[in-house]
């Protein structure tokens, strides 16, 4: 299974029947140094576009939106204590794992080549 990208600059990496979600290097560069991360509670059912995480950089606050409908299964408990990981290694600094309501929905997102073209 291939890693996918959303237009909101999130990456979705399949892991079994779950998707691991983080933000892209492009997003982390745009945000600047991340100093605060607020995660959703595991077990929460979310709708696409729902604001589920807060990221604050030295510059501003922004949200991470649920990429698709599903249930938040696990969150990265270490991240709020080490928010700088989002800048240091954005592809490893995951925020949450979601079990999509529709397992095929992930195929609607961009692959890496399409995302690279998207951000220009």
């Amino acid at each position: 299974m291939t890693i996918r990208f959303t237009e909101d600059h999130e990456w979705l990496r399949p892991e079994g029947d779950l998707l691991v979600v983080g933000i892209t290097e492009h997003a982390s560069e745009q945000l600047g140094d991340v100093v605060y991360v607020e995660l959703p509670e595991a077990g929460r059912t979310v709708a696409p576009g729902e604001e589920i995480c807060v990221i604050e950089s030295v510059k501003a606050a922004s949200d991470i939106l649920a990429p698709l409908a599903g249930e938040i299964v696990e969150v990265n408990e270490a991240l709020p204590d080490t928010p700088g990981a989002v800048n240091d290694d954005p592809m490893s600094a995951w925020f949450f794992k979601i079990r999509p309501a529709d397992a095929s929905a992930v195929n609607g997102f961009m692959d890496e080549a399409a995302y690279k073209a998207f951000i220009g």
């Binding site: 600047g32 140094d33 100093v35 605060y36 607020e38 807060v54 604050e56 030295v58 510059k59 501003a60 606050a61 709020p80 928010p83 700088g84 800048n87």
Partner: protein, 369 residues
């Protein structure tokens, strides 16, 4: 100089671009908000070594030496008592006792030298022209700030003699045949200098500093977090036409001579309110807030006395994350009856989060007095 975006550019614009700065519009100018190092590291570098800031967007103005009384009629500050080659913080007040702008004034013997905020420069110059004869807007010079514990050693290499200056001293030095006007002051809470340099040599001067190991270029982003940690107000945010110098915690800038019973008491716009607040205390005052946890409380966040219910008792005027204190910090105007150490609540995303009223600055200042 105007670029094709209509934004003015400082004489260092090309250098910023070469250094990879992210340029943003600020008060009508195209200014570097950060360099590839990033805001957080730029902030920490300034506290650990030396940061070089382009503050050429700020207004530089000269008044004739004879304008002391005319200037005193606009500011609640003792200008007549300002010693030769010394600088003082001041503010233009309005008739309601609010602040039109804050500025630096130095006594250069045959003239007074003023540095005003970029966003207010045009209005300040009109205000000065309406009340003070002989106003000269300085053109053809940029302004740099070199800030941090290594600033003295770095600048001393280019301008031998600066190390002997004390906080708020001003002096002129020669570099490559040009007059460099230096004050030992800044907006970061660190020791450092503000340096007025002719456009003709400012890029070379900046590059000579940047070539030194301890000096890095710093953008407006880190300038803001540095001044916030230092407890320094930002005009248009923490002080404005509605806030008096006393409520803003700037009574220290009003010397004895201009207070009740002083040699030249009053005689500035808004004296009635300002002298009354000096005597009786202001109804509200600018305080520091340390939010619990890591969530920053930013400008506009409303402050409540209780965790639930009630009406806001104040609003955050500046807030963010302090890289050196490794914690969020904010400033707000709150009722003067609230004591330091009291807990109040800032509402973020519908949740009321506790914050403690704390003394300013958040990070100790290190001026060389």
């Amino acid at each position: 100089m105007a670029g094709d975006t209509g934004l003015k550019r400082t004489a260092l614009h090309d250098l910023h671009v070469k250094l990879g700065a992210k340029m943003v519009p600020f008060a009508g100018w195209s200014m570097p908000v950060s360099y590839p190092m990033g805001v957080l590291k730029e902030h920490l570098h300034t506290r650990a070594a030396a940061g070089l800031f382009d503050v050429g967007h700020m207004g530089q103005v000269m008044l004739p030496a004879g304008a002391v009384a005319a200037l005193e009629a606009l500011v609640p500050v003792d200008i007549a008592g300002l010693e030769l080659n010394r600088q003082r913080y001041a503010m233009f007040t309005n008739d309601a006792g609010g602040i039109l702008d804050d500025l630096m004034v130095s006594n250069r013997g045959d003239h007074l030298f003023l540095v005003v905020n970029a966003a207010c420069a045009e209005a300040d110059i009109a205000h000065l022209n309406a009340h003070v004869p002989g106003v000269t807007v300085v053109t053809g010079r940029g302004l740099l700030a070199l800030q941090g514990p290594a600033a003295e050693a770095a600048l001393q290499r280019l301008l031998p003699g600066v190390a002997a200056m004390r906080f708020m001293d001003v002096a002129t030095f020669l570099w490559q045949g040009e007059d460099i006007w230096v004050s030992r002051s800044g907006y970061t809470g660190e020791d450092g200098f503000e340096i007025s340099v002719p456009d003709a040599v400012i890029a070379a001067f900046a590059e000579a500093l940047l070539a030194m190991e301890e000096v890095a270029p710093i953008g407006l982003g880190a300038r803001d977090s540095l001044r916030l940690e230092a407890g320094l107000p930002l005009y248009g945010h923490d002080i404005d036409t509605t806030t008096s110098p006393v409520a803003a915690g700037l009574a220290w800038a009003i010397q004895k001579a201009r207070r009740a019973g002083g040699a030249r008491a009053g005689g500035f716009p808004g004296a009635e309110r300002i002298l009354r607040e000096l005597a009786e205390g202001p109804a509200s005052k600018r305080v520091g807030l340390r939010p619990e946890g890591r969530a920053p409380m930013r400008e506009g966040v409303e402050i409540y006395a209780e965790a639930e219910g009630g009406s806001p008792i104040g609003t955050i005027t500046s807030g963010g994350f302090g890289p050196s204190i490794e914690a969020p910090m904010a400033m707000a105007y709150l009722p003067a009856t609230l004591a330091e150490g009291a807990t109040v609540y800032g509402e973020i995303r519908g949740k009321r989060l506790p914050a403690r009223i704390t003394a300013l600055p958040f990070h100790p200042t290190r001026y060389k007095r």
